[in-house]
Symmetry: C2
Subunit: 188 residues, 2 copies
């Protein structure tokens, strides 16, 4: 015999298990330690602008975790930047990450508020002046000066809600605000 | 009959055409406009934490350019973050981009200085406290609080030079310093 509790189904909205999302938020309120994640990548240079990043493990909910398979990402530069074009270049990876993060954040947070979303498309464009990297102009930064984002969203959300929710994205915050980066170097 | 100029070969170091790199720097000094690049990504949400970014075109040297093939990147979340683990997650893409950029910047700048590099390996780890994204603690940011980087480098460079050169990376600057991000939303 099944009980009422056992037959109660989880609510899934936007492909997100909103029931589990709510349970996660409650669990984090009770035990904030489980919310502390460490994400990782390692990189092996090949030659010139070609190198390979691998992502396989991370830490979260107070334990070491593994992805179901390693994710391998080839970065390269196009010929105009003296590469062989065997992969997106690193600054394009950052835009891809920003796009994925703002999209997922919108889908998850909308689900958390009971708002159905039918489609999310977006475009990202960022300005880099290579005078910064090449060192020909000390007043030019090497990274993105500005990134422009356009979202097209279909569903039970208005423009203002989308503007609010996409800004909760961890990658948005990572880019919009400074991050402390510590670098160790070992000569081998 | 070939002339002395025609038979002069380009210098290639670390897989980087140092002759062309030098010519590029001179050309940028003469005409800074050619250094202004625009990089792009577009994204299509699938469901839940799964979405697909595509990188195919960019702008640089005063013209529109195409990669030799579109680069397609699947982002997802692991089960502990309510996804299906069908791709690295967006914050991992950012670490991959940082790793690729610091690596390439080191290889290129070393080549520009005539320094030979034999191997570059690196590890990246960043802290994200999900209390920020979940909104359970207003004092916690949603993005990376800190990123730790370890480089192991073999070649004619000492630790100090590596520390100096990897910090010239555009993604390093993009993360270490704030970027202006403009967001447009269209309800469709």
């Amino acid at each position: 015999m099944t009980t009422a509790t056992q037959i109660q189904k989880d609510t899934v909205l936007n492909g997100v298990n909103a029931t589990k999302l709510g349970q996660t938020i409650e669990a984090v309120k009770q035990q904030p330690e489980i919310a502390k994640f460490k994400f990782r990548a390692r990189n092996q240079w090949d030659i010139g602008g070609h190198n390979v990043a691998t992502v396989d493990s991370f830490y979260g909910t107070c334990q070491e975790m593994e992805h179901k398979a390693p994710f391998v990402m080839h970065a390269d530069e196009p010929p105009v930047l003296l590469g062989e074009d065997n992969g997106a270049n690193p600054v394009e990876f950052v835009l891809a990450g920003l796009s994925g993060c703002m999209t997922t954040t919108l889908a998850y947070h909308a689900a958390g508020r009971g708002l159905k979303i039918d489609d999310i498309q977006s475009e990202f464009e960022g300005d880099i002046d290579l005078q910064g990297l090449l060192g020909t102009n000390p007043n030019v930064r090497s990274g993105y000066k500005e990134i422009r984002v356009k979202f097209k969203v279909k569903g039970d959300v208005d423009e203002q809600i989308v503007q609010e929710l996409v800004r909760k994205s961890p990658v948005y915050d990572t880019l919009a605000n400074p991050v402390k980066i510590k670098i160790e170097v070992e000569k081998v």
